[in-house]
């Protein structure tokens, strides 16, 4: 995938992973691996940005004697996913057009 494009969609993909259920870093990476490979070093800044934009909230909880940071989506986060789906619907139409004209 084009790196710029990847960056754009990854943020919303992370939001989506978190919107289904409260999640944590490693689980997000595993969940997303069905469609895209993302390293923890890529995920970390994304989580930070989403949290400071208040599209996510985080809380610390105890798990097997250690601390784990759990993320959940906010209302603004859900709106962001909606926006993404809307703007990509248009892009999909354009994609279909380009695909249709591509004889190779």
């Amino acid at each position: 995938m084009d790196p710029q494009l990847k960056r754009g969609v990854l943020e919303v993909a992370v939001l989506s992973a978190v919107s289904r259920e409260e999640s944590y870093g490693y689980k997000i990476i595993k969940d997303l691996s069905v469609c895209v490979e993302i390293s923890e070093s890529t995920l970390y800044p994304i989580l930070k940005r989403l949290e400071s934009a208040e599209l996510l909230t985080a809380r610390t909880s105890e798990h097997n004697g250690r601390l784990r940071k759990l993320y959940s989506i906010t209302l603004s986060g859900r709106h962001r996913i909606e926006e993404f789906l809307e703007s990509w619907k248009e892009a999909m139409d354009v994609y279909a057009y380009i695909r249709g004209g591509w004889r190779n």
């Binding site: 870093g25 490693y26 070093s41 970390y44 930070k48 940005r49 784990r68």
Partner: protein, 196 residues
């Protein structure tokens, strides 16, 4: 690399960051390693599955907002914000002349001390000269009368002697003042960290 080695290396690379930021980053990576181990990986595999510590640190630093980076590790002293720096520059027409005035006063006082010392030494030197001149006259006065002449020679020599005695400690005082100045200046430049 063990988990501890990885996290220590990461923490070292992140020392530029404010303590809280660095702590959050390290705990994120610690959590990642622990989750992978829980998933069944060995510690070594879990660590090697991640980006190298310095590469990870670089990525973290680049993503840190500039404002936070500028603050860096200044918790031991008062944090210097951008606002403080701007105020210092903008306010310089006020504090800079005041600072110069204060420095001028200090320099003037110091010069006055030296001048006073110089005049004291000059005074004692004059006493010596007076004594010598008197003794010389005394030699001439011998022609007028032995007792008279001897008396004046005696007084003159006494005067010169006292003068010399007082000049010596004055010169010592001057030398001490000179050494003291050098030491004080050095202390200012080296700062309190290294002072005994």
């Amino acid at each position: 690399m063990t988990k501890k080695e990885y996290l220590d290396a990461l923490e070292e690379s992140l020392k530029r960051l404010p303590k809280e930021e660095a702590r959050k980053s390290v705990s994120y990576y610690a959590e990642m390693i622990d989750d992978r181990i829980e998933d069944g990986m060995s510690e070594e595999d879990a660590v090697s599955a991640m980006e190298a510590p310095d590469a990870a640190a670089e990525r973290i630093l680049y993503e840190t907002p500039l404002k936070v980076l500028a603050q860096s590790r200044r918790e031991s002293r008062a944090p210097r914000t951008t606002l403080t720096t701007v105020l210092l520059i903008v306010g310089s027409p006020v504090w800079l002349p005041v600072l110069c005035a204060l420095l001028s006063v200090l320099v003037a006082v110091y010069a006055a001390l030296w001048a006073a010392l110089a005049s004291i030494i000059a005074g004692f030197a004059a006493v010596v000269v007076t004594g010598v001149v008197a003794a010389a006259y005394g030699v001439y006065a011998l022609t007028l009368g032995t007792a008279y002449g001897l008396g004046i020679i005696g007084a003159g020599l006494l005067c010169a002697g006292i003068g010399l005695l007082l000049v010596y400690p004055s010169c010592m005082l001057a030398a001490a003042m000179g050494k003291g100045t050098v030491w004080s200046l050095k202390r200012i430049f080296i700062g309190r960290r290294h002072a005994a």
